[in-house]
């Protein structure tokens, strides 16, 4: 029912009364698109966070710093080489390598001490934030996508009928956002396949369910940990480049995205990739619709969603009790 109404609202030409009630369709569609693409970005950040938590019970509060570092590295690389695409692998590998170092030198030494790990990650995020501020300064950076990706594209979504001719007007939307959304979906599906259809995925899922038993069966669990941490951190770095392309790279973004991933995984359920996807879309849309329709209280809307979910399903929408 809700889906049907939503589909109708997306595809149909809006009648006058609806336009009077909630404004023009173009605004609605734009908010929806922005929400979904923002959700794609949130998903990239939060999926690494939730994967690391699910396997290692480690709340990595330095995740936002990894995101921001990825953004800065992406900016420097694309600025130096002029290649936007090159920024992605470099950011992924560099931040992933930092993830390996963290896992190797920090988290492995305090396995099972949740609170201490969390505190250490807070310390790391403070130190990293200041080091990045030192090196890159407090300026706002923007990673420019290549020419073939910039500018808007005409989609097949009707926003309304032309006053003079009666022809339908189609929504124009930035290509780069659509490409990034597609990339997020591809990464999400690939992750799902990796987790559910491969040997490595089996190891990780077994590790999520019962870590001790898995290591008792002879699996090299430390290697699985290192791998997952590197991948999760790398994803955060990748997301940093994405975020730097359609938003900005600046000090303070680390906290913003850390909070976004916190809320996303609280809503979606800890340790669940599907949950992260659902949570990311809900939060992304809530933020965008909130900022369009009631700008003052956009943040409160996000927060309210979190409270409602906590009140009725403390383990999150897709989380297991």
């Amino acid at each position: 029912m809700v889906v049907a109404v939503l589909l109708w609202m997306i595809f149909a030409v809006w009648p006058e009364w609806l336009k009077d009630a909630i404004g023009r369709k173009k605004i609605f569609l734009n908010a929806l698109f922005n929400g979904v693409t923002l959700g794609g970005l949130y998903f990239l950040v939060a999926s690494g966070f939730t994967l690391i938590f699910g396997l290692m019970r480690n709340v990595n509060l330095a995740h936002g710093s990894l995101y921001l570092l990825g953004g800065y590295i992406g900016y420097s690389v694309s600025n130096a080489t002029g290649s936007w695409l090159l920024a992605f692998p470099v950011a992924f590998i560099t931040v992933g390598a930092i993830g390996i170092l963290l896992q190797f030198f920090v988290f492995r030494r305090m396995e099972g001490e949740d609170l201490r790990q969390t505190l250490v990650t807070i310390g790391i995020s403070i130190v990293m934030a200041d080091l990045m501020l030192w090196y890159w300064g407090g300026d706002f950076y923007n990673i420019t996508p290549p020419g073939w990706l910039s500018g808007p594209i005409e989609t097949f979504f009707v926003t309304g009928l032309s006053r003079s001719t009666g022809d339908p007007i189609f929504l124009k939307y930035p290509v780069v956002r659509l490409v990034i959304l597609a990339a997020a979906i591809v990464i999400g599906v690939a992750m799902w396949l990796l987790l559910n259809r491969t040997q490595i995925g089996m190891l990780i899922r077994a590790g999520v369910d019962d870590r001790d038993m898995l290591s008792a069966t002879g699996a090299r669990i430390q290697w699985v940990f290192v791998g997952v941490f590197a991948f999760g951190a790398g994803l955060a770095g990748l997301a940093g480049v994405v975020g730097g392309t359609f938003q900005t790279v600046a000090p303070g973004e680390d906290i913003r995205f850390l909070l976004a991933s916190l809320v996303v995984v609280i809503v979606g359920g800890m340790g669940s990739i599907t949950g992260a996807a659902i949570g990311a879309i809900i939060i992304g849309c809530a933020e965008q619709f909130g900022s369009v329709y009631f700008p003052t209280y956009a943040v409160v809307l996000t927060f309210l969603i979190m409270v409602v979910v906590l009140a009725f399903r403390p383990q999150g929408l897709m989380g297991r009790a």
Binding site: L115, R116, I124, I126, V127, L131, I255, L259, L262, P314
Partner: protein, 359 residues
């Protein structure tokens, strides 16, 4: 009644066969020394040190103490304590007098202050009710989310919270004809409330409620089986902590005479946790030690950093690294290091037996 003389000089009265010491003799000498030092401090220190170092440390220490109470005795690390403090500060500004006449109601302090505390406690209780639905690290995440939601909300809301600039000109009442914002009166004011909060936490930690709370921390399932209402204890702990944080928040507002969203931004919220952890979450004195270390570091960071050849902007780096080192090497903070040192000193180097009494 006979008097038994001990080797260390303290005397005990034997009443009906029981040993009783005078109450003042049961308090260790160190406490008397510290208390005396703190009381005569205004004679030694300058106004800047009294207000900016000690006054600020006491206030931050109280807010961190409320976190320590929740974290140390209840096992719930809440990052929303500074937010609760800010709520109390905001309420004093809104109900009481400030420069923002359009919003402030201008009620007398004896209405505004209790009302602010009540609202802060209600707010803290609501956060507690929400947070106890989760456990351990989830509590940290949810309270962090609440704290930042409050920050963004106050920054965008102009009707009640006056948005980005917040309130200024919030002064303490001129009770007994004293300007409580002046250096020495504020020193004693904050010292008084900090001591009160410290003693209250100390008392509560040994009262039945505190013991039950520590039981809940160690084994919630067993406490539930014994008939204790686990969640009620946790929520009550949040309410009590909110009261302490609320007093701290009002003092914080009075000291700087302003309150704005930045007071409880994400950075300061995490700083409170840093303070509590640096000092040590194990005992109520920890947060105050942590607060003094933090405030001294913050005040003299520029001097320290320039002497090391770095620019003065790297204060966060200094705090972050000291925090990391302490968490890495001593989970119990500076108090843990102190305990280790004492235990190490008392150990017989040959047999390893501990010779220091009571440790």
């Amino acid at each position: 009644m006979s008097v038994v003389e001990h080797a260390n000089g303290s005397s005990e009265f034997v009443v009906d066969g029981r040993l009783e010491t005078a109450w003042y003799e049961r308090i260790p000498v160190a406490y008397w020394v510290v208390a005396a030092l703190l009381l005569i401090m205004p004679a030694i220190a300058s106004g800047f040190v009294l207000n900016q170092i000690f006054g600020w440390s006491f206030v931050l220490g109280m807010i961190a103490l409320s976190l320590m109470f929740l974290g140390g005795y209840g096992g719930m690390v809440s990052l929303a304590q500074l937010t609760i403090a800010a709520v109390a500060g905001y309420m004093v500004a809104i109900f009481g007098v400030s420069s923002i006449d359009a919003v402030s109601l201008g009620w007398p302090w004896w209405v505004a202050v209790p009302l602010a505390l009540i609202i802060a406690v209600l707010f803290g209780t609501a956060i507690g009710a929400l947070a106890v639905r989760t456990e351990g690290i989830y509590t940290i995440m949810i309270t962090l989310a609440i704290a930042s939601a409050f920050f963004y909300f106050t920054r965008q809301n102009y009707v009640v919270f006056n948005g980005f600039s917040g309130f200024n000109g919030v002064f303490p009442p001129k009770l007994f004809g004293v300007d409580w914002r002046a250096d020495i009166p504020f020193y004693y004011l904050s010292l008084f409330f900090a001591t009160l909060a410290y003693l209250a936490v100390l008392y509560l930690s040994r009262a039945p409620f505190g013991l039950a709370l520590q039981g809940v921390r160690d084994n919630p399932r067993r406490m539930a089986a014994l008939g204790f209402n686990v969640n009620a204890h946790r929520v009550a702990a949040h309410a009590f902590a909110a009261f302490i944080a609320g007093i701290g928040g009002i003092l914080l507002t009075w000291q700087s005479s302003q309150i704005s969203p930045g007071t409880a931004g994400t950075g300061p919220v995490i700083d409170i946790l840093v303070i509590a952890v640096i000092g040590g979450l194990g005992r109520p004195i920890g947060p105050f030690i942590g607060a003094i270390v933090y405030v001294v570091l913050k005040t003299f960071a520029i001097d320290i950093l320039t002497s090391l050849g770095l620019s003065g902007d790297r204060f966060q780096l200094l705090v972050g690294i000291s925090f990391l080192l302490i968490v890495f090497f001593s989970p119990d903070g500076l108090l843990g290091l102190w305990d280790k040192w004492r235990a190490g000193r008392g150990r017989d180097p040959l047999t390893g037996a501990n010779t220091v009494e009571g440790s």
